[in-house]
Amino acid sequence: MLAKRIIPCLDVKDGRTVKGVNFVDLRDAGDPVELAWQYSEQGADELVFLDITATHERRKTTIDLVKAVARQINIPFTIGGGINEMADAEVLLNAGADKISINSAAVRNPELINQLADAFGTQFVVVAVDTRLIEGMNYVHLRGGRDKTDIETEHWIKEAENRGAGEILLTSMDHDGTKNGFDISLLKKINDQIRIPLIASGGAGNQQHFADVFQHSNVDAALAASVFHYGEIRIPELKETLKNQGIAVR
């Protein structure tokens, strides 16, 4: 049976992990490769690296990071942040990235999704969507939820699927950081309308939140950052909890 996936997300700046980490057994908590290795040993099913480097140097440090991860980690990983054109994606593919995630660039230029899918296959293209509820409607937001667009989230996700997205990573900005659980009603609504995998993001605070999102929205994967980094949720225990509730996990 296809397992539900647990995905830790690592924010990376200038080749180093940002956000605090609280693993006692880490020699260097800022080293994304060592952190990635720890997560894969713990049973993470996949990893997402979000590159938030703003400088011109970003391309080189990111590529070096992707190569180091691909050499040492034996589970799939996605890299996102700052991918604006075909060339950006191609160097990451050649450095060993399994998937790339695009967000603002896809909203600004939706044709980019088609181009990436045609050139590298749909399995390579994750479209990340940040959404926020405004007067009862969900709208796509850019720049980490700061800039509202007039695009309806549901509509955009269906368009992304039609254009060749292989997977959707949906972050509810209303839930992100609250630790009150995932936005199950939105995730269920979206999941029922698409036929590509959906990754839930935003709001994870405890193990039961993961069980709830899988049981009630049937999403394919759930992503979180701080609860894993600070050691509040340990992946082996999380998997055990899910298994005990009849959810297929690896």
């Binding site: 049976m1 040492q72 034996n74 589970i75 450095a95 749909t122 399995q123 590509i196």
Partner: protein, 196 residues
Amino acid sequence: MIGIVNYGAGNIFSLTAALQRIGVEYGMINQVTDFDQYDRIIIPGVGHAGAAMKKLRETGLVEDILKLEKPVLGICVGMQLLTACSEEGNVELLDIFPLKTLHFDERIQLKVPHMGWNSVRAENDCPLFQDVPDNTYFYFVHSYFIEYSKQYTGAVCEYGLRYSAAIQKNNFYGVQFHPEKSGKCGETLLLNFSKI
């Protein structure tokens, strides 16, 4: 030493990295004379089966692949190329296995691609799965699958239907999942292939 058929269908960085991790030497096969340097062969591949077959034909290596008596492992689309034909692009393939590669789309109600970790059970004493427990999870990403055949299957997987996650015939083997991305058991499988 393993020779990797280098025909431009997808990135092979992850595969070579996995071989390095398990300490298996490898090199690239770009032309017919390269086959002699290796005692076993991997045909990798991601993307579109029709496009991959076209690229493979352009290398001029097809006739020699068909004649190989060394162990050969096709991975993902590289495995599908070993079958008779694919619904992806409606193409004829190498026909080493008299099996069809079919599309999930109309045949199951589940999401397509089949993406993520799914459990696999070995059949017919497939040597690739030595020391790999039944129902071990491997990482899959594919929209097309190889029809189940009792005779040629090396392992089965269930995703809305039962299909061959691995195939074997004489010296030819194939796996639909990505051993190079499937954790320790994936590395065990590659190591098993290096010893067949």
